[in-house]
Subunit: 223 residues, 4 copies
DNA sequence: GATGAATGAGATTTCATTCAT
DNA sequence: GATGAATGAAATCTCATTCAT
């Protein structure tokens, strides 16, 4: 978030000499952010000290402040950075012209792989824990992440109903039926697997979820 | 700002009859627990100071230590006390001999009323946020709450399949399909309604969830 | 500044038992303020650490925060408290009906005793050093201290001129001629005596100042 | 915010002729000193960070250390450099053979112009604020600046008395009567004008001061 | 010579916990 | 039992100083 434009320009200019150091410098913010996300995910915002984060990132405490104004800004930056690259992905798939059931299947089947990305899985948990303390961030998440997912899913359902592919349900409410098991899967992994190794079979969960969902939404066989 | 109002009220109570004071005294632990739960739910364990809790409970900070060994014990006690009375309720309904769809319907329809209870709704959120920091508590929750709910639901599904009331699905995985939308509803209320007043229509959600679920689990129509 | 009203009421109520402790508590803020003023006077606001102040006041660092919200508030409170009791004194002498030269004499002669008071002498130095960093405090000092002194002195001079006791001068500008040597005396003591023991004979300074001033302001001998 | 403007300007200079750069390089220390003096004057020694100074001087923080061993040395150098050129001026006027009143008049009349020099005005304020933390510097100031001024003024007064131009007063004490209003004028400008725009009419102040002083010191009209 | 990223010591501030009353 | 003043350990944050480039 800080000084990115200027330094890049200079890096190009100097090119040869200080390349390694420069690359290091450019990498610092994301190294720190990664360490911080890990730490926040494990212990929560408040319980995670800057000492921990600094140590995990392999820098001194003071260095954190070169890149983030304070702990809260670090947290917000970390969450935003974890989300931003993914937000775009949502949209591009939205316009698909496949039948609704096929689209839902694609969406749900992709989940196990998506969840495996370590950075992303922690976000919902952090949002649930800290929404009250970071209202601004909560609003961002609500609009940019949940809002988009919601539009996407509701669009699929609504078009499915119009085309007669799905039976008539309240699309708003059905959104929760579609995503809830997926979210619970992420939360479960972050909450209970961390310590007790209560492994959850996400594949099976998604398979069963999809089966029940598609049947549940299916148009009554020719009647 | 420093809890003046509360203490004055107490001073008055003290002056009154011994009986009222006695009742008050016996109530102290649960009053404190209630205040603590409220506070923890709003801000999380670490961000919630004992000053806040004491002020909210209308007692002095020192008094907290008469009833709870330290902040962690207070947290654990608070969570346990919120859960214990509910745990028994689960079991008694488990033996029901109703058909599986009817049992699921009863379970899901009861949800809106259940999560209106202010104390209970905060627990899942707190568990998600703090499981990592309170492994012992997480284990308790996993076994005594989730475990029981799981046995109950899985039992219903399994018997439903055996009796031919439900079609054949993986009961373990179906458990998530049953409870996920319900949990997400609680979490949503705790996470986003607090500030943005993004009111969620839990009734509609449950109705739609039930409709989809029962269809999704239904045995193929007479074949 | 904090919680004074409530505690006093209670102190009366409890009266007997906790007298010593209570007296201690009531005394704390001024003990701390005294230590802080000493420390600030010696080293300046920024160079004086809360560790120093706490040690000098014989309390722990945390205790400072029971009575003052932060270091800046402590500073402001310390300056204000050192000034407030003195401000009233100014006014009462203002209405005097003595001849102007006599009034000036009384004012200037009182100075050596006034600046012997250790608490008061440090204030002008601190104001000069920190006015830029504490604009609000500077305004308070300007209005409540300098402003009053100014009105007083200008009033004396103006009336003196009207009555023909003093010759005609610009009262605004003459104010500085009256007070400047007195202020410089205080500043000198705070600035150079502290270390080099360059003792300044304030009595002689005031005597000479008065002699020159009264002659300088005297009406031309009957002409 | 981070001194981008300054560095760009320099980059351009670097590209130009060697001569200009050279001149720039030689000027560095005094540019830095000027920036530092400004900054110290505004906020005081401790409250003024090297970041501020570097930014104001248009150099990087590291560069400061090429010219000054550390912050304290920078401060001392800055004060000394502001004073040194002026010290010589004092002496040369000391030997004047004018009558004492005329010499005092010249001295005091020169003050408004002297004060206007921005660099010089800050020194007394800084000395008052920091004498306790820089005893060595205080001694230097006491001897080289105040001491010289004192010798000068006392010499004038003493010779004035001897020649019968002034009446008999304690020259040591009279020194304060001469300089105090002038010093207070500087201090006032540095302390209160900075923010509240409480403009002080230094000309009027000096005029009135001179009038009172000369009358106050004047030999009794032939009696 | 000049830079500015990095450091770590030290500052302020918070808060769970204790204990005299 | 109840209080709340006091503590001190630990947290966040700042900044003078260093040093690889």
């Amino acid at each position: 978030m800080r000084s990115s434009g200027g330094t890049k320009a200079k890096a190009k200019a100097k090119a040869g000499s200080g390349a390694r150091w420069r690359r290091r410098k450019d990498a610092r913010p994301s190294e720190i952010a990664a360490a911080a996300l890990e730490c926040f995910a494990e212990r929560g915002f408040a319980a995670c000290s800057l000492d921990d984060i600094a140590a995990r990132a392999g820098v001194s405490k003071g260095t954190l402040y070169l890149y983030f104004r304070n702990k809260e800004e670090l947290f917000k930056a970390v969450v935003r950075q974890a989300l931003l690259p993914r937000i775009a992905l949502f949209e591009e798939k939205a316009a698909a012209t496949d039948p609704a059931p096929r689209q839902l299947e694609r969406f749900i089947s992709a989940w196990p792989a998506l969840i495996a990305a370590p950075h992303l899985g922690a976000i919902p948990k952090l949002m649930i824990a800290e929404a009250g303390n970071f209202p601004e961030l909560a609003r961002f998440y609500l609009e940019e992440v949940i809002g988009r997912a919601r539009s996407l899913i509701i669009g699929i359902i609504r078009r499915g109903i119009e085309r007669g592919e799905l039976r008539r349900v309240d699309p708003e409410a059905a959104f929760f039926s579609v995503v809830a098991p997926l979210l619970i899967a992420v939360l479960w992994k972050q909450t209970f697997e961390r310590q007790d190794k209560q492994a959850l079979d996400v594949e099976a969960l998604c398979r069963t979820h999809l089966a029940i969902l598609l049947r549940g939404l299916a148009q009554d066989a020719k009647r």
